[in-house]
């Protein structure tokens, strides 16, 4: 009889558990380093808005690009069933764009294809992320959250011009 307070653990199993823990700590470290050292960002609370009035007053009443300084932009984007306002935007290559995205009705998604910009768009909240465009081309932004009958057609295009 083994003691009742200690557990019988097979040596192989003990090693397996140790390897598992080392693996998981490694993953967590890599994620932490990527998050802090490389500045990979996820959205954080930015501001609250009233979805009932957001399309009528404030920056989303006139959605679109604002040039802050050469090569630096803010993009105010209003998601609604089943279209983004604006549907098209253009910036020169090398631009840094900070996106401020909200919805005036139901939840939407906003995924800028071929980039790390991918956010949930929640009525009442503002999804903010910043991204720099090093390569010219047409980047589609597509709705990735089911938002009703016309969801599949909901997209826009950002032209990054050489």
């Amino acid at each position: 009889m083994t003691s009742k307070s200690s557990m019988h653990i097979d040596p192989y199993e003990r090693n397996w558990i140790i390897i598992s823990i080392v693996l998981l700590v490694t993953f967590a470290t890599v994620v932490g380093v990527a998050g802090f050292a490389f500045g990979i960002q996820v959205p954080s609370p930015e501001q609250r808005v009233d979805p009932r009035t957001v399309a009528d007053e404030g920056p989303w009443a006139d959605p679109g690009l604002r040039e802050l300084s050469p090569g630096k932009y803010e993009a105010y984007i209003l998601a609604q069933t089943w279209v983004y306002m604006p549907r098209e935007m253009s910036v020169p290559v090398g631009s840094e764009v900070t996106f401020y995205i909200t919805s005036k009705d139901v939840q939407h998604g906003f995924k800028l294809q071929d980039t790390n910009l991918n956010v949930q768009v929640v009525p009442g909240q503002v999804s903010k992320l910043t991204i720099t465009f090093d390569e010219a081309g047409d980047y589609n932004y597509i709705c990735t959250e089911y938002c009703g009958a016309g969801h599949a057609a909901m997209f826009g295009t950002l032209h990054v011009e050489p």
Partner: protein
Amino acid sequence: MSTQTYQISPAEKKFIGLHLFFAVAALSIGALFGPLQALEHAGLDLYPYLKPVFQSYYQGLTLHGVLNALVWTTFFITGFLTLAVTNGLQRPLKYPTLNKVGFWTMVVGLVTAAIPLLLDEASVLYTFYPPMKAHWAFYLGLTLVVVGSWIEGYGFFYTFAAWRKDNPGVRSPLSAFGAIITMGMWQIATLGVATEILTMLLPWSLGIIDATDPQLARTYFWFTGHPLVYFWLLPAYLSWYSFLPKQVGGKLFSDALSRFAFWLFFLLSVPLGFHHQYVDPGVPAGWKLLHAILTYSVFLPSMMTAFTVVASLEKAGRARGGKGLFGWIRALPWSDPSVSSQLLAGILFFFGGIGGLANASYNVNLVLHNTAWVPGHFHLTVASAVTMSFMGISYWLVPFITGNKLMSKKLANWATWLWFVGMVIFSNAMHVVGLLGAPRRTPLGLAPYVPEEWSGHLLRVGIGGTIMFFGIYLYIYVLARTAWSKKAEKVTIEIPLAESEHDPQDTPEWLDKWVPWIIGTIALLVIAYGPQLVDQIGNISLNAPGGRVW
């Protein structure tokens, strides 16, 4: 402990059988839409031809998610755990009436939710994010299903407590212990969605309040949404620990570590829901990172499960004459469809687990979030690890309940393999096309932005989904023919309850004590969720009226 003196009574068999009936009935409707969605992706949209009955892709997708992921699972699990509790403890349910009340509450809930679903009044998908507004009956029905499962859980707890009173100091039988852990975790986990529905969605859909706070609703939902995955998985693990080793002629490798894994799941299943909300605007990044780390830690008991189960299987395989590094795998009784289903479930879950680590990675998730990768992933978990295990269990459970011999081992094996092969093709294609940027929950045939490079993968989605369709209906056919055949050969099935290699009484007592673990679980929940819940509830803004948008 292995001597089974208690015989489950005909009334109990019938009660468990009723659970399975509703589970498989839901699956038989829910699975209908799978190939429709898959073929739509491949360029063949059949929904227009279903128009008088089913209105849209999204209605089909909602039925697919609700009936398969919520109903098939919950009914199967409560039925299977009834067997695990009564057989494990070798005694009848303490209050069978209580369990009956729970079960019929679930059935009433199912019917209540099914009516608006079938009438296209609740095409909000199985996550029902507000402010997309379904008919109130949908929310009420879901609530009743959850409440019914709670009541069935209480029935198990009373039965367990009665056993404990009669058996002080004895280690609780692992199968019953696992069942109680599963239902205990479920009671805690479902508090999130219960709060969401009762304080927000139900009053809103009834017109008592005008609007919702969609961000807070998401936080409530994902409090339940991830542990829901463990509510599905733990009964499959229970089968791999407590029944599968016996079915392959072996023993459970370690009772103590199996129990420890269950406790880690109890402790860690709930306080990690923010990993579903990495890209939510209303949750601070620091809390997301904390939940990322907690999500990695819940991977540990799954790794332990992998070792214990594979070690049990390997020893059995070698005892059967299997040699070499992998020869023991071939030596396992693959001709038994119950065994082959569960082995294939485990193989697919290996890949599901790797994908899960990618999802959990705070930053990598930016590439995957809301893409086809995600349904690709959970088809490897709930639709493979869980569903194939349940298929395997039902291949002995239905004969046990009905006394009829399984209609055909061969056809049952065909069903399992078709599902497996279809799933490999389907889920791989979904993962790849998701990485290329294809959104989930979208009829891509109607999407104007689909590039040519997706088309080959979308074709594979259609092919895989079609093969799975034949697999799952063959499974349902085999079960139905087994249950209702008048000519079936009568058999007496002994429940394949596995022994442990070591006497469970050698398992340390702290692994069989409830109070410290419950206190620890609550404490961890308060740390991981408390401040954010206080903050989000304190700053609630009911300002999103939403409505019907389909």
